[in-house]
């Protein structure tokens, strides 16, 4: 028995066209055109009429394009299994000699009904169940609110103690999402110094990054609006990156890049180095910003995950105005840099 089957296999290898012959031979159904004329198939599923004869067996409209995967056209089907797979050099080659390729769907497989269950239970009954099935298997929308930093910033020198928030929320599917971001800071007992809200459309542009575009509004210090475009995602070596450029309603171009890295010390204790850099393409005197790199804030936060959603932290951050911006601060008699001790909370829900 074994020997017999080997012989059969060997014979099939010898004749490269055997698979083709075989497929045609087994084809008990009428040819494509007749089949469509009989109304078994919706028109969009009928194979193209003027295909060369060799392609008559590959009627699947979704995969029939022979160029998509370098598949040889119909006449070469018999060769495919032997040659192509041998080149892969797999350790365990389980390709079946003389078998037709994936695209050679036999015509009979395209016979109706399109949805078998419709013929039993009725199309109306099935239609809603079918759309729910699709919705529940890949089209799920969800969202989250993430408060990345909610912290008190305590001056280590003569400066003022302040507070800061930095949060974002998103809702949507895997690819398209609506994103809200907000951050701001101020001094305890003093005025809110800076606050902003961004409303963004976010689209996945690769496995790890989203492109985000939208608007930013700063209620403080000066009610300014911006157009925003940026990317957010996970860079190699597990760095979380959020970078964006902004054009204000006055035409000022600025940019901001944030990068952070979570180093687990234990399962719950996480050390997070973080850096934020702000840039400006021009002097913005009313915001006391000079052209070039304006601010650099490297920091280190150590958080403890009481729960995954709730992680208080302590940390330290060096905040520095640099370049022309630092110069402007000195001219105002301010200290361009400071070291802050941080106590805060990272939370999400």
């Amino acid at each position: 028995m074994i020997r017999a089957s080997f012989l059969v296999g060997a014979m099939l290898v010898v004749s490269p066209l055997n698979a083709q012959d075989h497929a045609s031979h087994k084809e008990a159904t009428p040819p494509a055109m007749d089949h469509c004329a009989m109304g078994h198939l919706p028109p969009e599923q009928c194979p193209p009429i003027d295909e060369p004869e060799g392609d008559a067996t590959t009627a699947d409209p979704t995969t029939a394009d022979p160029t998509t995967d370098g598949m040889p056209d119909g006449m070469d089907h018999g060769n495919h299994g032997t040659i192509d797979h041998a080149e892969h050099g797999e350790v365990t080659d389980k390709s079946a000699n003389a078998a037709a390729p994936e695209t050679a769907v036999p015509l009979r497989a395209l016979e109706g009904p399109r949805h078998a269950a419709d013929a039993v239970w009725g199309s109306e009954q099935m239609a809603s169940a079918r759309s729910q099935l699709a919705r529940e298997h890949g089209r799920m929308a969800t969202g989250m609110v993430l408060v990345e930093r909610l912290e008190a910033r305590l001056a280590t020198d003569s400066g003022e103690d302040g507070y800061l928030w930095d949060a974002q929320a998103w809702y949507g599917g895997d690819i398209n999402r609506f994103v809200l971001k907000t951050e701001g800071e101020g001094e305890f007992g003093g005025a809110l110094e800076h606050a902003e809200v961004q409303a963004l459309y976010s689209r996945a542009i690769g496995p790890f990054f989203d492109l985000q575009t939208g608007v930013r509004f700063d209620p403080e210090p000066d009610n300014r609006s911006h157009l925003a475009i940026g990317i957010q995602g996970l860079a190699p070596y597990m760095f979380h990156i959020d970078g964006a450029m902004f054009i204000s309603d006055k035409g000022d171009l600025t940019a901001r890049v944030e990068a952070e890295y979570d180093q687990r010390i234990t399962q719950r204790l996480i050390l997070q180095p973080r850096i934020e850099v702000e840039l400006s393409a021009q002097d913005i005197p009313e915001r006391e910003v000079g052209a070039g790199i304006s601010n650099v804030e490297p920091g280190l936060r150590l958080r403890y995950e009481i729960a995954k959603e709730f992680a208080p932290y302590v940390g330290v951050e060096y905040e520095a105005k640099v370049g022309d911006t630092a110069e402007l601060a000195r001219l105002r008699g301010e200290d361009p840099d400071a070291i802050k001790a941080l106590i805060g909370l990272r939370a999400w829900f």
Binding site: I2, E111, A116, M126, H137, Y237, Q267, W348
Partner: protein, 562 residues
């Protein structure tokens, strides 16, 4: 009139009900009873099953459950090969439901997948499934609606063979599953938002033996080598026949008995390593189909698989240990000849860490190989044209190899006998068939975004492009796992033959095949069950994320269905 607290609570619930909030009955405080642990048995030609909301608690965790006939798991359905079965299912939930008969050969319209085989069972509706029983063996049933399976909506099936089976004296179902107090939709959301919510064994600065260079390499790929299971013992209590480890389930035997254990993995997300320390097990069936005897000390069972084993334990109490693959917990029962004696459970072993082989790289045993290939972890030119390499594909295995000889994560280095697919050999001969066609299906995903798909396309994107087979077509299907997770792939309504090196007329029959991380698995299918069939990863949340397709088999030999 004084307001009692009880009254207040009642009126608050009534208010919630009256205001038509989208609250299910169990949340509105209607009377919901505790589901019984374990299952009764139903048999005969006419079987009644009722799906309802219940509470469930085990080992300090309690929450909502969906029970069938009041138990979790639902009743054991005992059938006989050759009989007609009419299964009448009443849905007492507030949402649609269904039952899929996992592994049974039947007309497609009774396969129980809403939207594929039938419209589903509406709230309050009673639906009758009716089909002849054409086979024997160990199977199971479960909901195919939403995420209900996670909540307790599953149970075992035994089909007695038409001829007596003299291989055993005693017969037990060992149905493995999970209980979680968390709502399944909440679990899905936590998986989607990233944050590694259920991971408690990640590599840290103080944990895990891995060189700095290897850690950086994993980091460069943006992958986590401890991503063994998506959902873990941090929320799951692992159950044997509905009993948690603290419920002390006992299965009695007399010394000298040959005990048949019908091990069913009815969990939503957990692969189990099953062993009975000190007691060797002889595998006699895989997925309900007889195989030549294989004696092992331990085997890994993927979600939705079944294995039947025969054991002849010496007098005493023996622990049946179903350890989660990620070692975050275990299901436990005592096989005992002394009623009341609870076997001592072994300690959990350490969580395995993924290797380069799990990333689909050949293990050249050195860092050179790693450095050389580290940059090509997503070389889209390695994919055939019908695979879409969008944001849903975070990795492409550089060199996926056949891994049907791999016993499962964490079992490759144990010093006792473990089962591999390559050990399985069908006991009865399969018909001799030549392969008509070959195909490849790529298992694709993105761990960070929690996207899962076949060929880079979620089910919602391919509802009009089923996988088409001609009736009676013989196809060799190679599953290529482009992810670093093991996926149990299940085809409804058929048995396929594993191309596992067994002589080709004795290739073992299965309904579910585990494709190891970064590897391939191959099966031969004779598509001789006409109709539309679901084809999906049996990890519940992977399926829900889109790792599903519909397989159509045409034409109907009689011209049309029914």
């Amino acid at each position: 009139m004084t307001f009692s607290r009880r009254h207040l609570i009642k009126s608050t619930a009534a208010l919630a009900a009256a205001s038509a909030l989208p609250m299910p009955a169990w949340a509105r405080g209607l009377s919901v009873t505790d589901a019984k642990k374990g299952f009764g048995e139903v048999s005969g030609e006419n079987i009644e099953l009722a799906i309802g909301n219940h509470h469930f608690n085990t080992g300090g965790r309690s929450g909502h459950a969906i029970a069938v006939n009041g138990t979790v798991p639902g009743p054991l359905i005992r059938l006989r090969e050759g009989q007609m079965a009419r299964l009448n299912v009443t849905n007492n939930l507030d949402e649609g439901s269904s039952i899929h008969w996992h592994g049974l050969l039947l007309p497609f319209q009774f396969d129980g997948v809403p939207g594929v085989s039938f419209p589903g069972i509406r709230p309050g509706e009673r639906f009758s499934y009716e089909f002849p029983i054409r086979q024997s063996g160990t199977y199971w049933w479960h909901s195919h609606s939403g995420l209900q399976e996670q909540a307790g909506h599953y149970g075992p099936i035994i089909v007695e063979s038409a001829t007596p089976d003299p291989r055993y004296d005693r017969d037990y179902v060992v149905l493995l599953s999970e209980f979680t107090p968390m709502h399944p939709h909440d679990i899905m959301r936590k998986l989607k938002v990233g944050e590694h919510y259920f991971q408690r064994d990640m590599l840290t600065a103080t944990e895990g033996e891995m060189s700095g260079e290897m850690r950086r390499m994993w980091g460069r790929m943006r992958m986590n080598p401890r991503d063994i299971s998506d959902v873990t013992g941090s929320t799951y209590t692992f159950l044997v026949n509905g009993h948690g480890p603290e419920d002390n389930l006992e299965l009695a035997f007399n010394p000298g008995d040959r005990v048949r254990l019908r091990v069913i993995n009815g969990s939503a997300m957990t692969f189990f390593n099953l062993r009975i320390p000190g007691v060797p097990m002889t595998i006699i069936q895989a997925d309900g189909q007889d195989v030549d005897d294989v004696e092992v000390d331990e085997f890994q069972i993927g979600v939705a698989e079944t294995y039947d084993v025969i054991v002849s334990p010496p007098a005493g109490s023996h622990a049946i240990v179903a350890e989660a693959m990620d070692r975050s917990g275990m299901g436990l029962a005592s096989l005992t000849s002394h009623a009341g004696h609870i076997a001592t459970a072994p300690a959990l072993r350490d969580i395995p860490t993924l290797t380069m082989i799990d990333m689909g790289m050949m293990d050249h045993g050195g860092m050179e190989g790693v450095n050389e290939m580290g940059h090509s972890m997503r070389d889209t030119s390695k994919l055939p044209g019908d695979v879409e390499a969008g944001p849903g594909v975070d990795m492409i295995a550089p060199m996926p190899m056949d891994r049907m000889d791999f016993p499962g994560l964490g079992l490759d280095k144990v010093d006792h006998r473990v089962l591999r697919y390559t050990d399985l050999k069908a006991k009865r001969m399969n018909p001799h068939r030549k392969i008509d066609r070959e195909m490849e299906i790529h298992l694709t995903g993105n761990m960070e975004r929690y996207m899962w798909s076949f060929d880079g396309k979620k089910f919602s994107a391919v509802t009009d492009e089923p996988i088409r087979f001609g009736y009676d077509e013989r196809v060799r299907v190679k599953l290529v796992n482009q992810t670093m997770m093991a996926h149990p792939i299940h085809l409804h309504g058929h048995f396929f033959e594993l191309v596992n090196g067994a002589e080709h007329m004795h290739q073992p029959l299965k309904h579910t095949v585990v494709v190891q991380p970064g590897g391939t698995a191959t099966f031969d299918l004779t598509a001789n069950e006409p109709g539309d069939w679901a084809f999906h990863c049996h990890l519940l949340y992977h399926m829900h994320a889109g790792m599903m397709q519909v397989v159509t088999v045409r034409p109907f030999p009689d011209g049309k269905p029914v």
